[in-house]
Symmetry: C2
Subunit: 489 residues, 2 copies
């Protein structure tokens, strides 16, 4: 698609889309703006071209500074495409209408060429912990976290000549900066490894711990309710080195050659969001701190566990970038995990690490400047506000009914916000109270809500996990369905 075609589609009205006068005005305004922009662009181009030809001949290396222009324009035009606030067009949106204009990618439960039509009786998907609530934050702060990546950016397997790891040093620096800002984990003097999401790191750490005792089969355990992926992933790899063993007390009976126990624990817990701290435990403990960020839970202390996992997904919302990191004390474990990451995927995408660096730096910068009242809200303030309001709404629905109960969470003093923080969990862990509602996920499904059954977390089918991390429209749908259900006799 040429830039000119691209330009046309994003600024002209879409066929079949009903045009309110306000929207028409908006389109005309943007059309003028874009035209002005295009003129400036051509002036720049002419100026630079002219200067380029008369100035000193540059060596072959430095490119004409207009090199990003075409890609920037495509991104700008996609960003300006209006999908009624219920969808997106990106520069790589593939589907096009008969006239060549891109087809809006509509959010769940919306349709129509500009996503303005709410799908009636749409089933709400509250199964996945997809952190889409952050999309609105980044949309509202479009100048933050943009990644501009030239074609010659870090082609090699290693990020730069002489690098000893697959990790970009600017990204590691941003990770340390983020933990310093938030005060949720010690990074000084610790090893940091980057994985293709914390999902890859869970197996990297399990595999590497088990490899420290290669003659045995290490039992992998978790206390229910535990994050469902721990069991699924451990089972899938079908390793000779370790095996899923359920609850810690079952570990010794799981194998004929039992090795050192590896316990996986999410804190805050997924699904309950309770903070979990183990005292003396046999074997290794892997702390999955995916949700230990101030928009999701009060930051009560700076953790310094032997093995800690974090992920970009729940910090800034960028699940699709597949970036997680591990903070490790033991050099032998670090070396074994590095080897695992090298042999399984030859490291981690430099492109993702670059983007993640820009995103984390924008968060750090936004909280490092002295706040003025005119300043926009930082991401942690935004996230907490959204999730607190969702939790409050959910609580009022559930309290009005004897059919369900929610997990109990208690407010704590948050060292990041420097105040007693309200509750803003990412999941509701709902319990069905009626005798006939023994399969709570099924009760939800009949009411048009897809939740994740308690059984997947090693718990009773009377529980269901409902994700609260989706876009606002999705949460509104969820709340409406739950209200209806609560109101049923």
């Amino acid at each position: 698609m040429t830039v000119t075609e691209d330009m046309g589609e994003s600024l002209l009205p879409l066929p079949g889309a009903s045009q309110t006068p306000e929207k028409r005005k908006w389109r005309v305004g943007w059309l003028l703006l874009a035209a002005a922009f295009l003129i400036q662009f051509h002036i720049n181009m002419w100026y630079l071209h002219h200067h380029h030809n008369t100035g000193p001949k540059p060596p072959p290396n430095p490119p004409n500074p207009q090199w990003p222009a075409e890609a920037v324009q495509a991104a700008q035009l996609a960003a300006a495409h209006w999908c009624s606030g219920n969808g997106n067009v990106f520069a790589d949106t593939l589907a096009v209408n008969a006239d060549g204009t891109p087809v809006c990618e509509c959010d769940d439960c919306f349709s129509g060429p500009d996503c303005s039509v709410a799908v009636p009786a749409c089933i709400v998907n509250a199964d996945s912990g997809n952190p889409l609530l952050f999309e609105a934050f980044w949309r509202a702060n479009p100048d933050l976290g943009t990644a501009v990546i030239p074609g010659w950016y870090r082609l090699g397997y290693l990020p730069k000549p002489g690098a000893e790891t697959f990790y970009n040093d600017a990204f590691i620096d941003a990770v340390r900066g983020m933990h310093t800002l938030v005060g949720n984990a010690v990074t000084e003097g610790r090893y940091i490894l980057v994985g293709t999401g914390s999902m890859q790191l869970v197996n990297a750490v399990v595999h590497s711990l088990a490899l420290q005792n290669p003659e045995t089969v290490s039992p992998v355990v978790a206390r229910a309710p535990y994050y469902s992926a721990y069991k699924i992933q451990t089972d899938m790899f079908n390793s000779s080195l370790y095996t899923w063993a359920g609850e810690p007390e079952d570990a010794l009976t799981a194998s004929k050659r039992p090795g050192v126990q590896i316990e996986l624990i999410a804190s805050p817990n997924n699904p309950t969001f309770q903070i979990q701290e183990l005292g003396d435990v046999h074997g290794h403990v892997v702390y999955d701190h995916a949700y230990y960020w101030p928009h999701l839970t009060p930051i009560t202390e700076k953790y310094d566990h032997d093995i800690m996992l974090f992920t970009l997904s729940k910090a800034t919302g960028h699940a699709g970038s597949r970036i997680g990191w591990a903070i490790i004390k033991d050099p032998d474990l670090y070396a074994k995990m590095e080897y695992y990451l090298m042999i399984s995927t030859l490291g981690v995408s430099h492109d993702s690490q670059f983007r993640a660096t820009q995103l984390l730096k924008s968060v750090i910068n936004s909280y490092s400047k002295p706040q003025k009242s005119s300043d926009k809200q930082g991401i942690f303030h935004y996230g907490r506000e959204v999730l607190q309001s969702r939790w409050a709404r959910l609580q009022s629905i559930v309290k009005g009914s004897s059919r369900f109960t929610l997990q109990e969470l208690k407010p704590e003093y948050c060292h990041f916000f420097k105040e007693q923080s309200g509750l803003s969990p990412g999941y509701a862990w709902l319990h069905c109270e009626r005798e006939e509602d023994a399969d709570c996920a099924d009760v939800m499904l009949k009411a048009g809500i897809i939740g994740r059954p308690g059984t997947e977390f090693g718990a009773s089918s009377r529980y269901v996990r409902l994700a609260l991390l989706d876009r606002q429209s999705s949460f509104d749908n969820l709340a409406a369905r739950l209200s209806d259900l609560a109101a049923q006799p």
Copy 2:
């Protein structure tokens, strides 16, 4: 770092760097250019800001079109930073000099603040297949393949609402377009999976094939010399489902419960670059076509094997993006591989897929336009020219000595270039002929060359693999060292 600081550093001379008059002229020219650009930028900003305030008030969704400006400027300034053609500065270059200017990331065997100093007696690393020769191509075509990614781009695990796979449809479309352009593989009616590099896909396919017979242990085999990672990866995963079994004839004795044999075969072969075609074979064959691109080997036919692997790394040089793809016929295998990719890494980075789409599209576009004599060279022409000249130089060095021999390759008619294509392999498979040179890799090492020993490919230690895919300066060093060695009595 602020934009202003960034601006200063990239355009002013670096401290301690010796300034030739030509370079000084170049710097002044660029300084003027940048100043002009900055003025234009501020005019644009003022204009847009003014217009923005007086025009119709847009809905909250469309961002001020200047949103990418800061990130673009940082990228432009990094790109314009001069490292003598022997290094790079990127927007995320972390190290800075005492005055805040970024420290050039020097290529192997160069040092100094602007990478102008060749390191004497530098050891040449020809071990890795790092495809850095392509860096110069993308540098010379800076307008091609740029990725501009806004903060709100595809946050979720799935690329868009309702998506059934982790794969971006525009990327899959570009992959099909690339194979159509080159004519190297059938994609019509085939499943395409995307992995975190083809490295992840090798295990995904081995694991998934083995899972089709879960009660047995599938022998994983390869005919020597084979790509060293096949064995290393298969061993590392320590699976109960499959085991490394070496040569195909050894497969049946490798396990007490032998399953269906899984044969891994690279064609062109890594290390020899011979085309390999198996006839009737017991069990499954996985064709790794990483090197089946016209800059590396003549395209003699459009392959249509049951299981084919490709990677961005050897097609465009972007190894660091960790993007590979599999072309699959069997829907059951496809489903099992999808599951493996989901459970091991929750899919593949959307950021990398986006960038890969832009890169592949730029290649497709460059070859789709009618070629004019003024047009720049396409990537396949560039790559073939570079590698042919390297191979010719290597052959002349080796032919002048009785100490070594190189693998024999024969030219073929290439359907892409529509001509008999010369030889342009990515690796030299060198054989040491002298009786005392039984450890050929050691002979190389003593001459200042790191190669990969033949034993890692299941072959004799009289062989060594030397990678020819690095930057030109690195190859020049390699050729010089080999010449010296060949000249020794």
